[in-house]
C-alpha cells in the first residue's frame, strides 16, 4: 500500500474519532509543546546574551581590563576591600598600552554611571546610563548610529561637549523632531547632540536605549569618575582567532606597566565576552539537560496511550484487516498501514505541540521580559519526535494486526 494512502487513511481516522484522537495524542502534544516552548525561550536568551548582552558588557572579540569584575555575585567584604585597594586605570594607561600592543586591534576605554539628564522644555530623565568614552568605543561595541554621527577622536582629544544619545532619550526629549544640533544638559553640563543610536530594545524589562555617550575628556571627566581615570580599557582584536594571544599580551603589558614582580598577584581583572557568557552558558546547559527528562516523561506516557489506543483500534478493525488480507494485503502492508497511521496520529500531535509551544513561548515573552527566538532545529526535532513516538508505539499493535489469521479475522463480528 502506498504510504500516501495510509497517511490519508490515518487522517480520516483522526477526523472520524475526534475525541479519541485528541486523548490519544495528548501526551505527544504536551511533550512537544514543552520542548518547543523551552527551547524557544532558551534560544531567545542565548541570542540575546551572546549577541547583545555580552557585547554590551565587554564587547565581542574583545579583552577588557578593569579594576573590579563587571559581573559580581555577592562578593565578601574582604574581596570588596581588596578591589577598593587596587589602583584605578587612567587615560595614560590606555595610551601606554596602545603604543605597545602588537596584536592587531583597537583600544577603547570608557567610564559609566547613572545620572540625570535635562532636555528642552524642562524635560528630565533620571537614571540615564551616562558613558564617557573615547571615539573608538563606538566601533568596539558595534554601536550603530541611526541619525547624525559618532564623535571623532579629535573631538575627544579636545574635550568638546558633543553627545550621542540613545533612542529612548531622543524620543522623550525631542519626540518626532530631529535632536541633531539641540542642547541637553548632562549632570548639569550643556552638550550638543550630534548623533542618535539605533534602538536596541530591552532586556529583563530594562531599556537598553536610555543612555548618552560623551567624549571621555569632556566636562564629564572627573564627574562620573575620578579625574583622568576610567572604568575599563577594552582591546578589540582585528582577528577573533588572536583573542587568546591578546589576553596574554594585554595582561602581560599591564603587569609591566604596574611593575608587578612575577610572584605578585595581578591587581586588576582581565575579562573577555566568553567569560561573561559562562554564567548564562551554565544555566542554559542545566535547562537543556533537564529538558529531555521532562519531555521524555510526557512522550513515554504519550507512547503508552498511543499503543493502547492502537491495540483497541486493531481489535475494532479485525474484520477490516481480514478483508484487506483477503484482497491481497501482505503482512508488511498491514504492518506499515498501522505504523503509518500511528505515526501520522502522533505526528499530528507533534504539529499541534509545535503550534502550542510557539504560542506559549510568544505568550511568555509578551508578559515577561524573556525574549523568544524560534530555533528551526527544534521544529524538526518536535515533528520528528512526534512521528517517532507514534511509529515506535504503533509497532507492536501493527505487528499484532499483521499476524492476524484472515479466516479468524473475517469471522469476527
Amino acid at each position: 500500500m502506498h504510504p500516501f494512502e495510509a497517511v490519508r487513511t490515518a487522517l480520516e481516522m483522526i477526523w472520524a474519532h475526534k475525541l479519541r484522537s485528541f486523548f490519544t495524542i495528548l501526551g505527544t502534544v504536551v511533550g512537544v509543546t514543552f520542548l518547543i516552548a523551552v527551547i524557544t525561550l532558551i534560544e531567545g536568551m542565548n541570542n540575546y546574551v551572546e549577541g547583545e548582552l555580552a557585547g554590551m558588557v565587554v564587547g565581542m572579540n574583545s579583552v577588557v581590563v578593569r579594576r573590579t569584575p563587571s559581573m559580581q555575585v555577592n562578593p565578601s567584604r574582604e574581596t570588596r576591600r581588596l578591589w577598593q585597594s587596587r589602583p584605578r586605570f587612567t587615560f595614560d594607561d590606555a595610551e601606554w598600552l596602545s603604543e605597545r600592543l602588537e596584536t592587531p586591534g583597537e583600544i577603547s576605554f570608557s567610564s559609566s554611571s547613572q545620572g540625570r539628564v535635562d532636555g528642552p522644555n524642562s524635560k528630565t530623565i533620571d537614571g540615564v546610563m551616562i558613558t564617557a568614552a573615547n571615539a573608538a568605543y563606538f566601533n568596539a561595541r558595534d554601536m550603530k548610529i541611526s541619525q547624525g554621527r559618532a564623535f571623532q577622536s579629535q573631538e575627544d582629544a579636545r574635550g568638546l561637549p558633543v553627545v550621542v544619545i540613545g533612542a529612548d532619550v531622543a524620543k522623550t526629549f525631542f519626540d518626532n523632531t530631529s535632536p541633531l544640533g539641540k542642547t541637553i544638559r548632562i549632570r548639569g553640563f550643556p552638550y550638543q547632540v550630534i548623533g542618535v543610536m539605533e534602538p536596541q530594545g530591552s532586556l529583563f524589562g530594562f531599556s537598553l536605549d536610555n543612555l548618552v555617550i560623551a567624549p571621555a575628556r569632556s566636562r564629564l571627566n572627573g564627574v562620573i569618575n575620578t579625574r583622568n581615570t576610567i572604568d575599563q580599557i577594552s582591546f578589540k582584536v582585528a582577528d577573533p582567532r588572536q583573542l587568546i594571544t591578546a589576553v596574554a599580551e594585554l595582561e602581560g603589558w599591564m603587569r609591566v606597566r604596574r611593575q608587578l614582580a612575577p610572584t605578585e598577584a595581578t591587581n586588576f581583572e582581565v575579562e573577555t565576552s566568553e567569560a561573561a557568557l559562562s554564567f548564562w552558558t551554565r544555566i542554559s546547559t542545566i535547562l537543556l539537560l533537564a529538558l529531555p527528562g521532562l519531555v521524555g516523561i510526557s512522550l513515554v506516557v504519550g507512547a503508552v496511550v498511543i499503543m493502547n489506543i492502537m491495540l483497541v483500534s486493531v481489535s475494532d478493525r479485525t474484520r477490516e484487516i481480514g478483508l484487506r488480507k483477503s484482497l491481497g494485503a501482505r503482512r508488511r502492508d498491514i504492518m506499515s498501514q498501522f505504523m503509518i497511521e500511528s505515526g501520522t496520529l502522533s505526528g499530528f500531535g507533534g504539529l499541534v505541540g509545535i503550534g502550542l509551544g510557539l504560542g506559549l513561548a510568544a505568550l511568555v515573552s509578551m508578559v515577561s521580559p524573556m525574549p523568544a527566538v524560534v530555533a528551526p532545529w527544534s521544529i524538526v526535532l518536535g515533528l520528528g519526535l512526534g512521528v517517532g513516538v507514534g511509529v515506535a508505539a504503533g509497532a507492536y499493535p501493527a505487528w499484532r494486526a499483521s499476524r492476524l489469521d484472515p479466516i479468524e479475522a473475517l469471522r469476527k463480528d
Binding site: H2, R324, K325, L327, G328, R331, D333
Partner: protein, 257 residues
Amino acid sequence: MSMTKAIPKQGKPPTEESGTIILTRDLQRQYQLGSETVRALRGVDLEVRRNEYLAIMGPSGSGKSTLMNLIGCLDTPSSGEYWLNGQLVSGMSEDALARVRNREIGFVFQTFNLLPRSSAVENVELPLVYAGVPRGERRERAMNALESVELANRMGHRPNELSGGQRQRVAIARALVTHPSILLADEPTGNLDSKTSEDIMVLFHRLHESGQTIIMVTHEHDIAQHAERLVTLRDGRIAADVRHSQNHASPGATAES
C-alpha cells in the same frame, strides 16, 4: 448424475490449454482443538474448468467452509496439492498467497465487508491498491467495474447510503476489478431478501455468460440451483458432483433494483 471424477494422483500440473483452473489432489485439512484432532477435509479431489459455474453445498460441519478457505488461498492444506491457474499454491509462503489472492481470486462475502468510511468507488479500488496499480488507472478500472454491476451512478456513496443489494453489487465489482481467475462467493445472498437475491443471481448468470468462472458456497438449495454444477460435501469428502446444465435455471428477466 455422475459421481466424483477420478483424478490421477500423480501427473503433470494442469496447463492453460487444458482449461483447468482449479485442481486439487487428495486435499486434507486437520485442526488441533486441544488434544483432539478435527479432520475437516479428508481428501478432496476436485477439478474446476475455466468458465464453470459451481456451487458447493453441504450441511454444517461438512467441510465446505474449510474447502472454500483453501480454494480462496486464505488457508493452506495439511496435505495434498492445490493447483490454481497453473501454479502450485499449496505450500506457498504467506506473502505469495497474498499475491495469489490479489490476482487470482475475487471474494464476495455474505456480509459484504465494505469499508464503512470509504465510498463505493474507493472500496472497489482497494484490491488494485495492493496490486500496485497507479491512482489514475485504479479509478478508471474501478469505475468500469462499478458500471458492469450498474452502479456507476452510486460511485461516491458510502455503504450506509446504499441498499443491501447495492452493497453486494459494490462487493462484486470489487471482486471483479482485478479480473480474477475465479469469483469466490461465500453465501452471497445470505443477508439479502429473496427479491434482491434473485437480482444477484441474475448478475452472476450474466457474469458467467461473459466467461467468468464462479464458485459459490451456499446452503440454500434454490440459490445453488442457479449453478451449472453442484458439488456436495459430507464429512470432509465430496459426496456428490452433479452437472445439470439442462436444469440450469436461467433467472428470467426480473426487474433489477
